[in-house]
């Protein structure tokens, strides 16, 4: 009887293990339970029943009767190997970074069949395995199995989520990702993608204005990309955190510490802005724009306790993922994520009421020289620049691990989401600011000449795969700041200086676009009123524009010209308005993208 129970115990360990094999293809809902039951059940059974039995069994046979059973001893060795590899998988995991993990996985998997085989031989007197059984079990051992998936499957699955809304419980907080992906979390936490909604003063003011001007429901247009979680929750507006009576200052908080703290005390509170799974659970995206992506949060394969908030359960879930991370990887990483169409779902933007195009960064890239799929060396997708690592102005890539203990990758896709907005990220992290400034400075070049008493300045878009500036270019300023001095050091020509209020002086050459309303008046902040394009001086990718300035005819040569291509992320008049609500906001600095000093004889 005792023997039967022990055999049943071993059968339990074996069956729950086998059920997890890829070959069995168990439904995910069962898999996650089986994985948990296998690990914790095995520990309990082995400690409470199998070890005591083995102890008395070995004592009885080998010590008392001096019996030597070869199959029994082999069984013991394999059993110990299985326990060791099992514990390794449980506590350290098979994350791809160390070969020991993969080895443990193989040992654990194949060893279990060997164990069962040896058990059969050991219990010969109870049942003699026929030759057929032996061959069959050998065949099972040799089944084609991949211990760890190195290659990504090209699974572009079309999903239909039959729900009308999500709940905050489905929006896994980004803090939970931090435990295993601390570096990526940190990069994201200070990036602009994190600070698109409640922690972005400019956005908060603009969303409120939009709600006021076009009705409260119009906020959803903004929130589709800026605040996917709130939109999916059918929330009508973006709200900011409060800590008691104080609005926690999100402008200067490094590494989203406020998010981490809020998660500790309110694990169910909705995380606003673009969180980890807002991007990593997109299953389909079209380049149409205005948040044209498909989310799938509810029906995803979660490991047991993946959503738990308590430390113990979270710890267990991490161990369960690490032991067999294949599904986790498949669930959160899709080939789609490397394509520009995916980014375009939000980086293309049009007015819903008039279909007027507001932002067309994706189209600009599509028509640029960087979109050459025939020439893979020249071809560059969005992430090749914006998720790359810059050093000294060059894209160098960054090798390292994206997961704690994971495999070393040659070039990690950094999650700085480097863009032109150096200002808001710079308030939080100098690293992010430096990345952004390097990107900006690599974007354009200047050249100059004097012909027939005219100063000719050329500006070439050399680095950007889209127009310069792009995005919300009605709220961007790129302009020429020129000072020309004559022989005596007198300023004989000047343009593009800031006036007392901080705005660029009139008649300067500014590269941007200006929207006008029906009557042709500039729309100012209310850019959704756009009907007529009043001005568009953005520079296409790879193109050069030339400006000419007439100098006074009596200038005394040689002339010394100082030409600067300046950039400011928000015009002063925009910042002034935002400061009414957010007095703590500093003024964005002026960045010099390119500079040239030249002496003309």
């Amino acid at each position: 009887m005792k023997l039967l129970y022990i055999n049943l115990d071993i059968a339990f360990l074996f069956v729950t293990g086998v059920l997890q094999m890829e070959f069995v293809n168990l439904a995910w809902n069962y898999f996650r339970i089986v994985e948990f039951v296998h690990i914790f059940g095995s520990i309990l059974l082995i400690a409470l029943f199998i070890f005591p039995f083995l102890y008395s069994h070995i004592k009885d046979t080998m010590v008392k009767y001096k019996a030597r059973s070869r199959s029994g001893m082999l069984f013991g060795v394999v059993f110990i190997l299985l326990i060791v590899s099992g514990f390794y998988l449980f506590l350290v995991g098979n994350r791809g970074g160390d070969s020991l993990g993969t080895l443990s996985f193989s040992v654990h998997l194949y060893g279990s069949f060997v164990l069962l085989f040896l058990l059969g031989i050991h219990l010969k007197k109870f049942f003699t395995p026929s030759t057929a059984t032996k061959i069959a079990s050998l065949l099972v051992i040799l089944l084609p199995l991949t211990p760890y998936s190195h290659a990504e499957k090209l699974t572009n699955v079309q999903y239909e989520e039959g729900v009308s809304r999500y709940h905050n419980i489905e929006w896994t907080n980004s803090t939970t990702c931090k435990e295993c992906h601390p570096k990526i979390f940190k990069q994201w936490a200070n990036s602009n993608h994190r600070h698109l909604a409640d922690s972005n003063p400019y956005y908060m003011v603009l969303e409120n204005l939009a709600g006021m001007d076009r009705g409260e429901e119009f906020r959803t247009w903004c929130m589709g990309c800026h605040n996917p979680s709130a939109v999916s929750m059918k929330q009508e507006k973006t709200t900011h955190f409060m800590r008691d009576n104080i609005m926690p200052d999100p402008l200067f908080v490094e590494d989203s510490q406020n998010l981490v703290d809020a998660y500790k005390s309110h694990p169910n509170r909705l995380e606003q802005g673009v969180s980890c799974i807002a991007c990593h659970r997109i299953t389909d995206a079209s380049p149409k724009g205005n948040s044209s992506y498909t989310l799938k949060l509810k029906e995803r394969k979660k490991y047991l306790y993946e959503d738990a908030h308590s430390d113990t359960k979270a710890w267990i879930s991490q161990k369960l993922i690490n032991a067999n991370p294949k599904t986790h990887k498949e669930e959160y990483m899709k080939p789609l994520y490397k394509k520009s169409e995916y980014c375009a779902s939000c980086h293309n933007e049009f007015l819903p009421h008039s279909s007027k195009i507001v932002v067309s960064t994706y189209e600009q890239w599509k028509n640029s020289k960087y979109n050459t799929s025939k020439n893979p060396k020249e071809h560059k997708e969005c992430i090749d620049c914006h998720m790359n690592y810059l050093k000294d102005g060059n894209y160098v890539g960054r090798s390292g691990k994206s997961t704690l203990g994971g495999e070393v990758k040659k070039s990690i896709k950094t999650h700085y989401f480097t863009g032109a907005n150096h200002f808001l990220v710079g308030l939080k992290s100098k690293e992010h600011e430096s990345q952004s400034l390097q990107l900006l400075k690599s974007s354009a070049k200047l050249d100059s000449a004097i012909k027939e008493n005219k100063l000719l300045v050329g500006v070439t878009n050399v680095g950007a795969g889209h127009k310069l500036p792009t995005g919300a270019s009605d709220f961007r300023e790129m302009w020429l700041d020129i000072t020309v001095r004559d022989r005596d050091g007198r300023v004989i020509f000047s343009t593009g200086k800031l006036d007392e209020s901080g705005n660029i002086e009139k008649n300067s050459i500014v590269y941007n676009k200006v929207f006008g309303d029906k009557e042709g008046n500039p729309v100012g902040l209310l850019f959704w009123r756009y009907e007529k394009l009043l001005k568009d001086t953005r520079i296409d990718a790879g193109k050069r524009v030339q400006e000419s300035f007439s100098l006074p005819s009596d200038a005394k040569y040689p002339l010394k010209a100082e030409i600067k291509l300046n950039f400011r992320i928000y015009p002063q008049w925009v910042t002034d308005v935002v400061k009414v609500s957010y007095p703590q906001l500093p003024n964005p600095p002026v960045v010099t993208i390119a500079k040239e000093e030249k002496l003309f004889e």
């Binding site: 709940h167 905050n168 409120n208 409060m242 957010y582």
Partner: protein, 400 residues
């Protein structure tokens, strides 16, 4: 033996997997809109009147008859910062409203002409919520309430049977008096208030017109009370009660049904959906069901075992942090049931403003007052119903 065990396991598995199919599905009785309205009305829910006569019937009293001049005077006092010790706090500082609650471009006007506006107000004044959106009120010289009580909205307050979190006041005029005299709110004694108001020529003239006694502290409070009585809001739910079936969404109707069926309406009753009774909170204290950790340490006595997870949590009398230590009427954790009209505009919630999310508040109410773990869908529906209670201040032509 083996066969028996296998058979047993098999039977158990089959039983468990077939149970959902064996239990007959209960067909839910669905209410038509008219039935739902009838039920709501039978439970005492009433709409806010849009006609002046009905309004007078409801709130006018012979002690303090409402007249156009008195309301105008009350409004002037309501927005007057001179009614405080440091000349910086008016009633409207905490009960945030704009002079013209129907100005739709208020935000743009403020943001482009930033005069005498504080930063939070620029955005939140357009809520027209009649509360300050803070956890606790900030009064004269930046003083906060010692009990850390949350500001109640002034909208529809005059209709309630009880005022204040601990229901210590019954008449709305009394609450005006209390707020002016409170050292942490406006901090003026009756004498000082009279003296400060009497300085103004405008007030002297107006008080003479409205009251026979001229400027007295009682008259000041009466005038403000007359104004606060006019601050009633009409919402989509009122239009539904008046007979417009399409005024609220289907989800909100289901929410209303939940609200009535699950028992919320037991306390949140009447025209104001609350404010009529005094109740215990929380009625269920899960802290005391199993006291495991207290066996070993006095520090964690009564820790919420429902969230037993080895994270040591502090013991609270409330299902949230007990900031301020306010315990309600007679320190028995008894509170006036809050008014739910405009609840979507008056976060944070509960007496100390510890909960920021309306859905979280609904969940807490379900669990701790009704012993129900509300499902996400139920919370959605109830929240949609609560949204339908959000309304604009009614403009009575006769008072313009």
């Amino acid at each position: 033996m083996l066969r028996l065990i296998l058979l047993g396991v098999l039977i158990i598995v089959i039983w468990i997997s077939s149970v959902p199919y064996l239990i007959p599905k209960k067909v839910k009785h669905s209410f038509s809109d008219a039935e739902l309205r009838e039920v709501a009305l039978s439970k005492g829910m009433r709409s806010i009147p849009k006609e002046y006569d009905a309004f007078l019937k409801l709130l006018d009293s012979p002690k303090n008859p409402i007249t156009k001049e008195k309301v105008a005077l009350g409004k002037a006092l309501f927005f007057d910062v001179n009614l405080s010790k440091d000349n910086r706090v008016s009633c409207a500082t905490c009960h945030m409203l704009s002079q013209n609650p129907h100005n739709k471009t208020q935000f743009l006007d403020d943001i482009t002409n930033p005069q005498s506006k504080t930063d939070c107000m620029v955005c939140h004044i357009k809520d027209q919520s009649g509360s300050d959106r803070l956890s606790t009120a900030i009064g004269v010289n930046g003083r906060t309430d010692p009990y850390h009580r949350n500001t109640l909205t002034i909208l529809n307050t005059a209709l309630a049977k009880y005022q204040m979190w601990d229901a210590s006041v019954k008449e709305s005029v009394k609450s005006v008096e209390l707020m002016i005299e409170d050292a942490n709110k406006m901090g003026l004694s009756a004498k000082e208030a009279e003296r400060k108001i009497a300085k103004s020529v405008y007030y002297k003239k107006e008080f003479q017109k409205v009251f026979t006694e001229g400027i007295t502290f009682e008259n000041i409070t009466l005038a403000i009370d007359a104004y606060q009585k006019t601050l009633l809001t009409r919402s989509d739910f009122d239009r539904f009660l008046d007979g417009n079936n399409s005024a609220i969404s289907e989800s909100a109707k289901r929410g209303l049904r939940n609200f009535i069926e699950l028992g919320c309406k037991g306390c949140h009753s009447g025209r104001t959906i609350g404010g009529e009774t005094i109740q215990h909170f929380p009625t269920r204290n899960y802290n005391y069901i199993i006291n495991v950790t207290g066996l070993f340490s006095t520090e964690y006595v009564g820790r919420d075992v429902a969230s037993f997870n080895f994270n040591f949590k502090e013991y609270h009398r409330f299902p949230f942090e007990n900031v301020g230590g306010f315990l309600g009427k007679k320190e028995e954790q008894r509170f006036r049931v809050p008014i739910l009209r405009n609840v979507t505009k008056t976060s944070p919630y509960f007496h100390n403003g510890a909960v920021f999310d309306l859905r979280e508040a609904v969940y807490i109410m379900g669990k701790y007052q009704l012993s129900m773990e509300l499902t996400e869908t139920q919370i959605d529906e109830i929240t949609d119903f609560l949204k339908s209670l959000e309304g604009d201040v009614v403009e009575y032509e006769e008072l313009k």
